[in-house]
């Protein structure tokens, strides 16, 4: 293990900026939006200080930012951008174009409620609504994890030629200060080689991308995209392992916390994981065999890994800080689908907790675990307010 780093007091957003800086991106097209803006501000500051050599593009919209990301990436350089909420939605079309173009862009998304009405609160619906765009999605629960994940995301994305999103929630992660271990350039350079694709837009190569295809070619192209996603599971796992070897920090794709012999397994993503970990400790102390399963990699969704971890688990309780009207919690649905067909599949309970950024306390989690133990699983996700934990 190489231990070359510097401890800094950073917010989650600034940790992302440092992660991006260490990846040495060439082009940075960024458009401001709360609560992402500090990421961009720190990057332009680092650039001004000479710590980051990159072309910054300040376009008129997130749509153009992503358009520039795609072509810069296809021209054979590393690019980085960041956004949130409505900005991500404005990019939506280009997100498909990016994955279709097989451009390994890395983008940070700071989860924020979607309008209308106007709000600024932690809510994962913005990024989860992009689950079909062909982007790899990492959900992070801390500043350190966000920094580390940015670098892992580049490793993964550039090997499978797919774009990757590193996601953390507004304020709970984005604006919370913590001591972050910022690795040295040498360490990062040894982990992340320069982006050196075989083909890119260049007169010496003289090949073009994106010309109109027939049905068969489109089918093949989508299939290849799917295969790349499948391969991303192993690549991401390896990227995490190697990072751990270098820094001592690994996160797994699905993190199982105190899951042994669990009667109830809590499944969730992002900042609620930290709270859930505390609740699990508390419940274990009180004799309840609860565990936490943190979904860090949401796309590709590690179904095999999940099934293995859920073997013999009687009950699963999914907490969603997001909402898909007409179906419920998105992770809830994904987990239900993942366990479908398992021998002795667990009962999957779903709770819409913290939607719109509502606080989810350890006590609330404990009460939901209790409920899960007592009641039959409802087919639908159940709305849970702050008072429900009282």
């Amino acid at each position: 293990m190489i231990k070359e780093s510097k401890a800094m007091l950073l917010t989650g957003n600034h940790a992302v900026s440092y992660g991006a800086m260490l990846a040495r991106p060439n082009v940075l097209p960024i458009y401001p939006i709360t609560p992402q803006t500090p990421i961009a501000e720190k990057l332009t500051e680092l650039q001004l200080n000479g710590e980051l050599e990159a072309e910054t593009i300040t376009p008129e919209s997130e749509h153009s930012a992503m358009a520039a990301c795609i072509t810069a990436s296809l021209t054979g350089v590393r690019v980085f951008t960041a956004t949130a909420s409505q900005g991500l939605f404005l990019m939506h079309e280009m997100l498909h174009y990016a994955s279709g173009a097989r451009a390994p862009i890395v983008m940070a998304n700071v989860n924020r409620t979607i309008g209308s009405p106007w709000g600024f609160w932690p809510d994962q619906t913005d990024s989860l609504a992009q689950r079909d765009t062909g982007w790899i999605q990492y959900y992070s629960e801390s500043a350190q994890e966000s920094l580390d994940t940015v670098l892992q995301a580049y490793r993964t994305a550039e090997q499978v030629l797919l774009p990757a999103m590193v996601i953390h929630e507004a304020f709970y992660v984005s604006h919370s200060l913590e001591v972050v271990d910022v690795p040295s350039r040498t360490l990062v350079d040894s982990y992340l080689p320069p982006f050196d694709p075989e083909l890119y837009l260049d007169p010496s190569i003289n090949r073009s991308w994106g010309n109109v295809v027939n049905q068969e070619m489109f089918w093949r192209h989508r299939k290849a995209l799917g295969e790349a996603m499948d391969q991303a599971l192993d690549v991401a796992a390896k990227a995490d392992t190697e990072w751990k070897e270098l820094t001592g920090r690994g996160y797994e794709l699905l993190e199982a916390y105190r899951c042994e012999d669990a009667e109830v397994l809590i499944v969730t993503m992002g900042s609620m994981c930290g709270t859930a970990r505390e609740a699990v400790d508390m419940m274990r102390d009180q004799g309840t065999a609860a565990g936490l399963l943190k979904v860090r990699l949401f796309r590709p969704f590690p179904v095999d890994m999940l099934q293995n971890l859920l073997k013999g688990v009687p009950r699963v309780m999914v907490m969603d800080r997001n909402f898909s009207p007409g179906l419920g919690g998105i992770l809830h649905q994904e987990v239900k689908a993942a366990v479908c067909g398992m021998e002795k599949a667990p009962a999957v309970h779903g709770f819409l907790t913290g939607v719109g950024g509502l606080n989810v306390s350890p006590a609330l989690i404990a009460s939901l675990v209790k409920r899960t133990k007592l009641k039959q699983a409802d087919i639908n996700s159940i709305w849970v307010g702050e008072e429900d934990g009282e």
Binding site: A54, E55, P59, S61, I70, D202, P203, G210, V212
Partner: protein, 295 residues
């Protein structure tokens, strides 16, 4: 005008035969001169448009330079991305260009274009202006002229064509020009001139759509010339937003000469033709005043 001209262009064809443009397509001819004048050290972006069809079906390209086909509204942003990437790699000598239609420029791509121009992105933007959404079967764009028939303005468009050149000139970018396939010498000169300038450059090329305008297969060049000599589409340049130069202009040909040969104007009554003539006369006199003002 000289009787016979020879054009100083790249003899190796950057634009390849076998492309899928309609027979006699004005835009295909413009492609030939844009690409062959720029030469091989060029990377292009093309949004969905006739240009995208002309570019060729996968896995073949009619453009012997690297091309990326982007979204309809993104041409200027996409070209910016390429240029910045090249710059970061020390390959600044390679031109990044966009070749978009008028829909992708005047309408949906305008926001990105305006921003790229404001940022001073070092790109050349070619608008292949055929005055409507021709690739989707002739719908109006904001470039469609007054009273022209399109399938979305079946009674004739009720408003005037947007003046893209003036809007871009107002961005005070180093070079904005109009050109057309009727005057290849002028087109080639402008491309060469643009190539030597740094910053955002835009050339709006009138490229008649034979089907959309209702013309015979051999008329793209002739109708382009009528557009110029009737004063409807004067060929001029604006440098740094102020310096106006007229290259080819009106010679007294009435607009009716231009209108009467096009099916899209077949429904016009005399008073509408007179109205168009008055509009053209006014615009032309304004242009002449600008030229004089900054001379």
């Amino acid at each position: 005008m000289e009787n016979d001209k020879h054009y100083d262009i790249c003899e190796e064809n950057i634009f390849s035969s076998g492309h899928q443009a309609c027979p006699g397509c004005g835009q295909a001819l413009a492609f030939r001169y844009v690409l062959n004048t720029l030469g091989p050290d060029t990377i292009a972006v093309v949004p969905p448009s006739c240009a995208a069809i002309i570019s060729g079906p996968q896995p073949y390209s009619s453009m012997r330079i690297p091309v990326y086909q982007t979204t309809l509204e993104s041409s200027a942003a996409s070209a910016s991305g390429i240029k910045r990437a090249l710059k970061s790699k020390g390959k600044d000598h390679i031109q990044a260009i966009a070749i978009a239609g008028d829909g992708g420029t005047y309408d949906i791509g305008f926001q990105a274009l305006s921003s790229a121009a404001e940022r001073g992105e070092d790109i050349i933007y070619f608008c292949m202006d055929n005055e409507g959404y021709m690739n989707t079967g002739t719908q109006k764009s904001s470039s469609t002229p007054h009273y022209a028939y399109t399938t979305s303005t079946p009674g004739g468009k009720t408003t005037m064509k947007k003046n893209l050149v003036e809007i871009m000139a107002a961005h005070q970018i180093p070079y904005v020009a109009t050109a057309t396939v009727g005057y290849l010498d002028d087109l080639v000169n402008k491309i060469k001139k643009a190539k030597e300038i740094k910053g955002t450059r835009l050339i709006n090329i009138l490229t008649p759509c034979l089907d959309g305008w209702g013309l015979t297969d051999s008329s793209a060049v002739g109708i382009s010339r009528l557009a110029v000599t009737s004063g409807i589409f004067p060929l001029y340049e604006v440098e740094n937003g102020t310096r106006y130069t007229l290259n080819y202009g009106a010679d007294g040909t009435p607009v009716s000469e231009y209108l009467k040969v096009q099916r899209r104007y077949r429904h016009l009554q005399e008073e509408q033709i007179n109205e168009i003539q008055a509009e053209v006369d006014l615009q032309y006199s304004i242009l002449k005043r600008k030229i004089a003002c900054f001379a």
